[in-house]
């Protein structure tokens, strides 16, 4: 008797949780700060049937997560534009988008076309742009006024006073600095390997000059603010944040061009709430919501007049960093062909393991 | 006190206080060579603290401890030639029997071949020649006991301390070990200092016993002296079984006092102890069950001498225990008195509810001023 009532109770509980799940849930896999609370609350108020669940991640982990489930578990993901084509080819984790359901008119045409060109497979488009930003350098102008290129990180003048992140960005930046065009070399992987080998030699020789490799925005900020380093490779948003606290610290687009990325919207292949996902995309494209979003992320929305929708301090930081010529000079990350991650990974390991000197 | 090198162990005015607790309070003792000495007292009387001071685990606040006439106050425990058998034996479980016994020899830097000889020899002497390679867990309780003693004796100590080592054994084994310990002591001819709260262990084994209470030695003497001629009420009550009454002295003459107990009985008793009580003083009266004669009441009362006590009562219950059988008699004042009886199994035996008369002499009744 007791067992039966327990069973009934269990069944009832299960039934209830099933109905609860029926109220639509939108599961977003995105970057930290890309789903600010205020915006989520506002959205849920506008669409009371939809509940938002956010998981924060980064490019590599997003793809690993989707790969593990074959594209299930999330309804909307936001990888960068160069991480879609090869990942889709190799792991089949996204589904094509219906552009008619998105207010693409609001998006900057260059960004939209760029993303489309990068993510079209067999005539289907797999992503639309959301926000864009750059990777480049930052320097304390009072201590390193002439800092201008990727190669300056290895300038003995700044021995022990610079930092970088040991990831693919610094490989690409150093390649550009050496006068190569790594993105063009993606077409010929043997040639690319040659470039990588030379980049590795340069960065190994440079190890002595580096104080430490930073691992995240926090340790980079701490080193920069405390003056332990005077210049570093950086994400622009980190540099903008520091500019707010110390006007001497500015983002420096390298003379060979800052490397630009566009974070996108994509639909995971086994996502279950496409309509809700489209609603969210259109929702965050609305100008007043763009403002909220940019205030949280520090990145520029890929909408017309996106820069003007930045909060005042961030706008000042961007204006201090970029001239129109710099914007012209941006190098958008090219699609990563299959196999390149492995080549780059090996090169990074080689640099890390090389005992230049401690 | 004159130091005497014939004594294996001497304590002179030893004191040890823990805060306001006087664990050991001015204790002096002398133990002659080769004797079996027991310290008997209730738990918490300070006997363990005293032993730990002798072994060197505690330092006395005052007084001196001498082994073979030499003060060991400044000698650390591992340099004193006093070995100890611990309450739970403290055999080393990670070593086998051989290694347990060899441990002390190794510490003393004895050569390997000599260790071998000595260990074999001591195992022979405790009649366990074949257990050298056994693990400790494979030994019986009695064997462990003997190994613990052998582990000490192989070092040829001046004094062996034993801290209630029989406490953990079952009754039968305990009885057997009492005898065995005594034999071992004779065999090794070493001074044993034995600590216990069990009076039968102390009485059976010892040459001399010290009764300890509240940090002080109350009386020291042979077991017979303590039993038959206690110097204080505590000793009379603690050593052996006894009946006890509290009362007041009505008159005293020639070492015999007439006493009225709190329950209204009148009895005559020999006066013991250091202080002779005066008329009206409070006293404690003791009489041992084996000195009480039990007779069936009725019939003509036998002639009773002047120095006899008589008490009428009814048998409440019979505690049959073979030769040590005993009756509990309820007297007129509803008190229970114990008396030893002989039960033969015949029809004349005493039974419960029988009316009886208890008789005992004044000489075998002891009273102490309280």
């Amino acid at each position: 008797m007791k067992i039966r009532s327990t069973l009934v109770g269990l069944l009832a509980a299960t039934a209830m949780s099933v109905t609860a799940a029926n109220a639509e849930t939108l599961r977003i896999l995105t970057w930290g700060s890309y789903a600010p609370d205020a915006l989520v609350k506002k959205f849920e108020k506008k669409y009371p049937d939809i509940e938002i669940e956010v998981t924060f991640s980064n490019n590599e982990e997003m793809i690993a997560k989707l790969r593990a489930t074959g594209g299930a578990g999330f309804d909307l993901a936001q990888p960068s534009h160069d991480r879609i084509f090869a990942a889709q080819k190799e792991y089949n984790i996204y589904k094509p988008m219906d552009l008619s359901k998105i207010n693409t008119d609001r998006m900057t045409k260059t960004h939209l076309d760029g993303v489309k060109a990068n993510t079209t497979i067999d005539g289907e488009v797999y992503a639309v742009p959301h926000q864009w930003g750059t990777s480049g350098l930052m320097a304390d102008k009072s201590k390193a006024p002439d800092f201008a290129g990727w190669g300056d990180l290895c300038d003995p003048k700044y021995k022990g006073k610079t930092s970088m992140r040991l990831k693919r960005t610094i490989l690409l930046g150093t390649a550009f600095d050496m006068g190569e065009d790594p993105f063009a070399a993606y077409a010929d992987l043997d040639k690319y390997q040659g470039i990588l080998d030379r980049v590795a030699d340069k960065l190994i020789a440079c190890k002595d000059n580096i104080k430490a490799y930073w691992k995240g925005g926090d340790d980079l900020s701490a080193m920069m603010m405390s003056g332990e380093i005077v210049a570093s490779e950086t994400w622009d948003s980190t540099a903008y944040k520091l500019y707010g606290e110390n006007e001497n610290i500015v983002f420096v687009p390298p003379r060979t061009g800052a490397l630009a990325w566009i974070d996108t919207f994509t639909l995971p292949r086994k996502g279950k709430a496409d309509d809700a996902a489209y609603k969210w995309i259109n929702f965050v494209l609305e100008p007043e919501n763009v403002k909220l979003m940019s205030a949280s992320t520090g990145a520029i929305a890929a909408v017309e007049g996106g820069k003007d929708l930045l909060p005042a301090d961030k706008k000042a930081a961007v204006n201090a960093a970029f001239t129109d010529a710099d914007i012209e000079n941006l190098k958008f990350f090219a699609n990563i062909p299959p196999g390149v991650e492995d080549m780059e990974g090996k090169t990074l390991e080689k640099i890390k393991a090389a005992t230049g000197s401690e | 006190m004159q130091s005497n090198s014939e004594n294996d162990l001497e304590c002179i005015g030893v004191k040890r206080h823990f805060g306001s607790v006087r664990a050991v309070d001015d204790v002096s003792l002398e133990i002659p060579k080769g004797s079996f000495f027991s310290i008997l007292g209730p738990s918490g009387c300070g006997k363990t603290t005293l032993m730990r001071m002798i072994a060197g685990f505690e330092s006395p606040d005052a007084g001196d401890i001498r082994i073979k006439g030499k003060s060991v106050i400044d000698t650390p425990p591992n340099r004193r030639n006093v070995k100890m058998v611990f309450q739970h034996l403290a055999l080393f479980p990670m070593m086998n029997v051989y290694e347990n016994i060899a441990y002390g020899l190794r510490c003393n830097g004895v050569s390997k071949s000599e260790i071998e000889t000595k260990v074999r020899d001591v195992l022979e002497r405790i009649a366990l020649p074949d257990v050298a390679n056994r693990e400790i867990t494979q030994l019986s309780g009695g064997q462990k006991q003997r190994i613990a003693i052998a582990r000490c004796m192989v070092l040829d100590p001046d004094v062996l301390l034993l801290d209630e080592p029989l406490g953990a054994l079952d009754l039968k084994l305990r009885e057997a070990m009492k005898i065995e310990l005594k034999l071992l002591q004779h065999q090794f001819d070493t001074t044993f200092v034995y600590i216990t709260h069990d009076q039968s262990e102390a009485l059976v084994m010892s040459d001399n016993v010290a009764i300890m209470n509240e940090g002080k030695f109350v009386q020291t003497g042979t077991p017979q002296e303590l039993y038959h001629d206690p110097s204080a009420a505590f000793v009379a009550g603690f050593v052996g079984d006894t009946n006890r009454w509290d009362g007041k002295v009505k008159s005293v003459a020639k070492g015999v006092a007439e006493i009225e107990t709190a329950t209204g009985l009148t009895m005559r008793s020999s006066v013991r102890g250091e202080r002779t009580p005066g008329v009206g003083d409070a006293v404690s009266v003791f009489v041992r069950p084996e000195f009480i004669t039990t007779q069936k009441a009725g019939g003509a009362a036998p002639a009773i001498g002047k120095n006899k006590n008589v008490l009428e009562g009814r048998i409440d219950s019979i505690l049959f225990n073979g030769a040590n059988s005993r009756v509990l008699v309820r007297d007129g004042s509803e008190e229970l008195v114990e008396a030893d009886v002989v039960l033969t199994g015949g029809t004349a035996d005493l039974r419960a509810q029988d009316a009886v008369r208890l008789i005992w002499s004044a000489e075998q009744t002891m009273c102490f001023a309280s």
Binding site: G345, E349, E358 | F57, H88, A90, M94
Partner: protein, 292 residues
């Protein structure tokens, strides 16, 4: 008849009791490992094309960077284990044998506190202390002991210190529980029979505590070799840790196949070290870890 039913019920309840454990082992340990093992035996030929083979394993042995990193991780983990033992033993001894009941609880609590904050926070704590402009460096400067700031962070010493700090509790707990079981009179007997301090420590306390020592060492070694955040955050330019290598294979390089192989190699390596340690100390798993 009733007896049979009783027996069946008894057996059923036994199965039911065992079921959660069996499920846990099967679903969360055995199955994932089988899956991992399967993945580790796949060679990538092209996009979505795989072949069966041992290439992922042979790659490890052919590339010195990989096995050097594994050896480095192993030797540093051994060093951390040794330091944790040397530092943890006196603490455990104090807690188990010297401290009173109340201090004991307080001491245990103090050892536990580091575990209440996450790995990440703990690592940041060390970073704040050790960095060039951090607490240690500036206090030394203030005290006039050094002239210019010193960087204590980003080197192997910082990694080892951070790891020891994190894992020492796992050394202390089994040690305390073993030493707790040791009768104080065992130590006194050691002295009484003529042993001095070092002899008692070497011949009695350490052999008695051996199961706890080995158990603590196993746990600490496994935790250290498998740790990720502390070595990454405190480590310097050259200090690679094998778990970082595995993470990179899985996440950065999308190379699950070789990541899985590396995972198994780490498992095999640590198992081998534990086995060798047990052999050397003459202990068994039963007498150590299972005992605690």
């Amino acid at each position: 008849m009733a007896g049979m039913v009783q027996k069946d019920i008894k057996r059923l309840s036994l199965y039911l009791l065992f079921a959660p454990f069996a499920l846990w082992i099967a679903l969360l340990i055995v199955l994932p490992h089988l899956g991992m093992f399967y993945i580790s035996l796949r060679e990538k030929v092209g996009p979505r094309v795989y072949e069966f083979g041992f290439e992922n394993y042979t790659n490890f042995f052919l590339e010195p960077i990989y096995w050097n990193t594994l050896l480095r991780t192993g030797s540093m983990s051994l060093l951390v284990t040794a330091l944790a033992l040397v530092l943890g033993f006196p603490i455990a001894y104090y807690i188990a044998k010297i401290a009173g009941n109340r201090t004991r609880g307080a001491l245990f609590l103090m050892c536990l506190i580091p575990l209440w904050v996450s790995d990440l926070i703990r690592a940041f704590g060390w970073i704040l202390l050790l960095r060039e402009t951090g607490v240690v460096s500036s206090s030394l400067q203030w005290a006039g002991m050094i002239d210019t700031p010193i960087e204590f962070l980003y080197n192997d010493a910082a990694v080892i210190m951070g790891l020891v700090y994190t894992v020492i509790l796992f050394m202390i707990v089994p040690l305390v529980s073993t030493l707790d079981g040791m009768d104080k009179s065992m130590i006194e007997a050691g002295y009484n029979l003529g042993g001095n301090g070092p002899t008692v420590l070497r011949r009695i306390i350490i052999p008695y505590a051996m199961p706890g020592i080995v158990a603590g060492c196993i746990v600490v070694f496994m935790l250290t070799a498998g740790s990720y955040l502390t070595p990454i955050l405190l480590g310097g330019k050259n200090s690679s840790w094998f778990t970082e290598q595995i993470y990179d294979q899985f996440i950065t390089r999308y190379n699950w196949e070789s990541g899985a192989a590396f995972g198994f190699l780490l498992l095999a390596f640590t198992s081998f070290v534990v086995w060798a340690g047990l052999k050397l100390s003459g202990q068994t798993l039963n007498s150590t870890v299972a005992n605690n």
